[in-house]
């Protein structure tokens, strides 16, 4: 928690800054719109968190999102009847891709950076090979509803985000979450304590795949079919997780902070936009912030460790 605190301070600061520039921002509709927009990235960050805290990377989520949207469009092809079965299929595909990532990483001992880089290439190639180069078919209005519509004043995506966040927090509080963190901290000690390390890591990849599927459903619903919907999302998700104070290499950081990291990133984009810094300088500011945030975390750590060394 100590590590997680700074991100909440930064997030609160950004939200205040946005509210100063645009007082309307704090009213429920505008704020809900912000949360709705952030939802896919927050969900992806939550999924990526599971992989990172177990000591691995998942670079495949961006192209998985694209693949899922393209698959959905082709299979649904505008038909209301096909919507629910296809939604189920998307979830299965997400979990399956995660399973493959996990198995290749744990059993074949390929570094996850390379495993998921390979998956990234394979997915982005295979899906367009299947559809002949460009997305075809169409998403049904029912499918779109999840990303576009709302239940009363609350958008569906916000509700889904709340459900995902609750599930993620629950998973991390449950035995699984603890064994996952244990694996990331010291996989040898975890294994000698009876943790099935390969299985736990594979489950983390599957969760990441699932989160990509959910993010794809929301993004596809929000904005429709596009061939580049997932572009760059993997790096954004990793950035968000790291911003939340989660250590690359595993074993440290909380899922709440990772999700806060995603909100922070989204708030940052919004703020830059409000101040008219759209486009050009946005990435530069983002780069500086990531390095600064991680550096502050890293500089902090050895000092407290030094105090405790024998």
């Amino acid at each position: 928690m100590r590590r997680a605190l700074p991100i909440f301070v930064v997030l609160a600061g950004l939200l205040v800054a946005i509210a100063i520039a645009n007082p309307y921002f704090l009213e429920p509709p505008a704020f809900l719109a912000f949360v709705k927009r952030a939802a896919p990235l927050v969900i992806l960050a939550a999924g990526q968190y599971f992989v990172i805290v177990s000591g691995e990377f998942d670079l495949s989520v961006g192209s998985l999102v694209t693949a899922e949207v393209v698959i959905a469009a082709r299979l649904i092809d505008g038909s209301a009847a096909a919507t629910w079965p296809v939604l189920g299929l998307l979830i299965v595909v997400g979990a399956l891709i995660g399973l493959v990532n996990g198995i290749v990483t744990t059993l074949l001992r390929v570094p996850s950076f390379i495993t998921t880089l390979g998956t990234l290439l394979i997915l982005s190639g295979a899906v367009f090979l299947w559809t002949g180069g460009a997305p075809r078919g169409a998403l049904s209005p029912q499918f779109r509803e999840l990303g576009r519509g709302s239940l009363g004043p609350v958008p569906w995506s916000v509700l889904i985000l709340v459900a995902v966040a609750a599930a993620a927090i629950y998973a991390m509080r449950a035995g699984f979450g603890h064994t996952l963190v244990a694996t990331g901290d010291n996989d040898r000690a975890a294994a000698l304590s009876g943790v099935r390390v390969a299985r736990v890591r594979t489950a983390a990849f599957m969760i990441s795949g699932l989160s990509a599927a959910v993010a794809a459903i929301l993004l596809g619903g929000f904005a429709g079919v596009s061939a580049q919907v997932g572009q760059g999302l993997e790096f954004q998700a990793i950035t968000a997780v790291v911003l939340g104070g989660v250590a690359l290499g595993g074993g440290r950081g909380s899922v709440v902070a990772a999700m806060a990291g995603a909100f922070t990133l989204e708030a940052l984009f919004t703020l830059l936009n409000l101040y008219g810094i759209s486009g050009a300088l946005e990435p530069a500011v983002q780069g500086v912030i990531i390095i600064a945030a991680v550096a502050l975390g890293a500089v902090n750590l050895p000092r407290s460790r030094a105090a405790a060394a024998p």
Partner: protein, 333 residues
Amino acid sequence: MTQPLKLRRVPAGNSFLRRLSADRPARAVYVALALLIVLGWLLFALDGGRFLSQENIVGIQQRSAALGIVAIGQTLVILAGSLDLSVAYLISLTSLVAAEIMAGADANVPAAVAAVLAVSALTGLVNGLIVTRLRVHAFIATLGVALIIRGALDERYDGPAGGVPESFQHLGYDRVGPFPVSALLWAAVGACAWLLLSRTRLGYRIYAVGGDAEVARLSGVRTERVVVAVHVLCSVCAGIAGLLLASRLGAGAPTVGTDGGYDLESIAAVVLGGTALAGGRGGVAGTVGGVLLLAVLDSIFNQLEVNSFAKDVVRGVVLVAALAIHARRRRTA
């Protein structure tokens, strides 16, 4: 229970081949490369083309030169246990720096080359210092620097800019027999890196730091300096690639680096060549093999006119399969 001591006599002799065979991962990639060349030759023959035609051989070299140079830099960084994701944007930046300073005039070429080397060395220094002094994981540090460079590019440039004089374009287009100048440049960079790794103290220390930083430190190696040095060298390689691309394109282009995917592809080439992502094992020879493997694969794809989506699938499969085989060989060895 007492087993006879396993005696392994080392054959005398100092041949290059022996040295190469000591680098076993590299041998694997060359075996794969040889098989792929045979396969390519067969497929070309079936398709009515000539694999070993001058155009094709030149084409393979031309296509791989820029990636090859970047990958050599990336090899150094990875060997030392680090990583550089900023090379793609740096290539774009340096291509622009080169073309803008040259501005089409021969007289400006030396200044432009100097500026490119300075800019890239500075970027590498920043990368290295962030990794060592601020203790930021190289993945995040170089990703952050990449974003900063991207911001600068987006802010300053909205398309190709500057111009390269005719004389400088010889670098990108001329060739000596079947060897393009760009490939010779790649070979030169490769030879320098090989010399660095095999014959200089810095090279030895790169392996030591990547292999076990603690052992290196106990042996008196200043590990942080080594990490900074490899980042500088890697960025300089990216700068050289930027110069080469500027000469090929006749101008600087803000997207040439990212379009080429030089960041992830260079890492892929390095690990294909048997260099361990965790550092300490591998070498330049493997990387050259990895780059050539990708280039021959491309050449076969070209001949068969495989569409780019199928190419991605094959590349992904090759990458994962190669690493799985490397991992398996190491476990059974």
